[in-house]
């Protein structure tokens, strides 16, 4: 589960680097609020009871 943490530009830069993207702080600074909103939604998704639902990767192969 995602822990609540302050999303600094430095943290974004390190997270992006882990994903293989060498984006500058100037490039990442504008998306800080959008990342915060996304992570908040993902926290709620973490907490959701999804039961035994198997992930849908493609719909109804017929």
């Amino acid at each position: 589960m995602l822990a609540r943490m302050e999303i600094s530009v430095d943290l974004l830069k390190r997270a992006a680097a882990l994903a293989g993207f060498d984006w500058s702080e100037a490039e990442l600074e504008p998306i800080g609020p959008a990342v915060e909103r996304l992570l908040e939604g993902l926290r709620r998704l973490d907490e959701a009871d999804l039961g035994d639902a198997e992930p849908t990767t493609q719909y109804r192969m017929l």
């Binding site: 997270a15 490039e27 996304l38 993902l42 998704l45 992930p55």
Partner: protein, 463 residues
Amino acid sequence: MADLSRMIATKQVSPVEVVRAHLDRIAALDGTLRAFITVCADAALESARAAEADLMAGRAVGPLHGVPWAPKDLYSTKGVRTTGGSKILAESVPAADATVVARLAKAGAILLGKLNMHEFAYGPEGLNAHYGDARNPWSADAHRVAGGSSSGSGVAVAAGLAPGSLGSDTGGSIRIPASLCGITGLKPTYGRASRAGVLPLAWSMDHVGPMARSARDCALMLGAIAGYDPADRTTSVLPVPDYGAALTGDVKGLRVGLLRAHFTDVATPEVKAAIAAAAKQLEAAGAVVDEVNLTQLAHVATGSAAIVGSEALAYHAAWMRTRPQDYQPDVRERLRLGAFVTGVHYVRSQQARALLAREVDEVMARRDVLLAPATPLVAPVLGERETTLGDGPSDVRAALLRCTRPFNFSGHPACATPCGFTQGGLPIGMQIVGRPFDEATVLRVVDAYQRITDWHTRRPAAA
């Protein structure tokens, strides 16, 4: 398209005259409307002359013989640049047609050109910094957005620059511009039409489908493009029905579920009234309407963002490493978000998706179709970022996606059609959602509705 096809087949009008008339309208109006990225005037006229010669010689013709059309500029077209609305692919010229483009050509349709779109299909407003923002033809005073991402398709069909188009729909990109521009747009079931040769936004959420003036036109186009394609392993082997034959005009006894919470209840007052009126009109035509709510919608927005963000960044990773400056700013920022989604979140989003698909299936087990707004608001003014819906303030982008995205998540077919106009003269759109691979019933309901209303026949004065 159906009318043009019939008139051409019966030699009431020549394909050359039809193509020339559309090219004239493009020349006269597209400087303002910005629907086209590329116009293939010479090739279209050459094809029209060949179509006319075939017709006069009595050679076999397809169901769209001599009828012009234009796809969103993410469909590969042999020898014609396919930009994806981007600077990055500005000079990209495919060596082959996308499967569905080839199928329309085989049916006799004539390519007029390639249509504007939100860059790489990643935005519901239909904005484009490289080729100019398509302009909604229903608004002469203010520049209102056309809706996206298939903005050029919405504008071209509404303004009479092309009688039909193919759009693509990952979160609503066919139905949103159809709603905002007052035309008919069908997102078929995932797997009904091939995505081979179509630039992806998110492979597991992308749907390709027709945009035209009526359900009958969409039926004609879908019949030509649908069906199994070995080049797209996600296409279904189910046989393609005769969609035109399904348009009986009869909805007696058909069970329609009116989607309330999240959909109709949050729409602006004029949209809500139009949806209520449409439900009553269908009821008067013999349909049985009840109200229904979906409960598995809480994670649609986040789940879609996680899935689309991850898949889109995977596709764009190389360019986002080497030339991020060549993307328009909103698309670049949206793509960057994908880097912050983990594999666990991607899979949990797909689980949430399975739950919604299951719930929609259960709801549809007792109903033939569902009815909801296509968009809960009408075309916003360019640059407008905030709006107010029935449940409070909303980001415009989220509001545009709100009613369409659930059915990309679930994969069910859905068709947008105009169902009224605001006092200010802007189109209002509703959508009819169907069972998987039952586009025939969806089109039957939309066609029946279009037989008892005239919203889909109205044309913008500006065009």
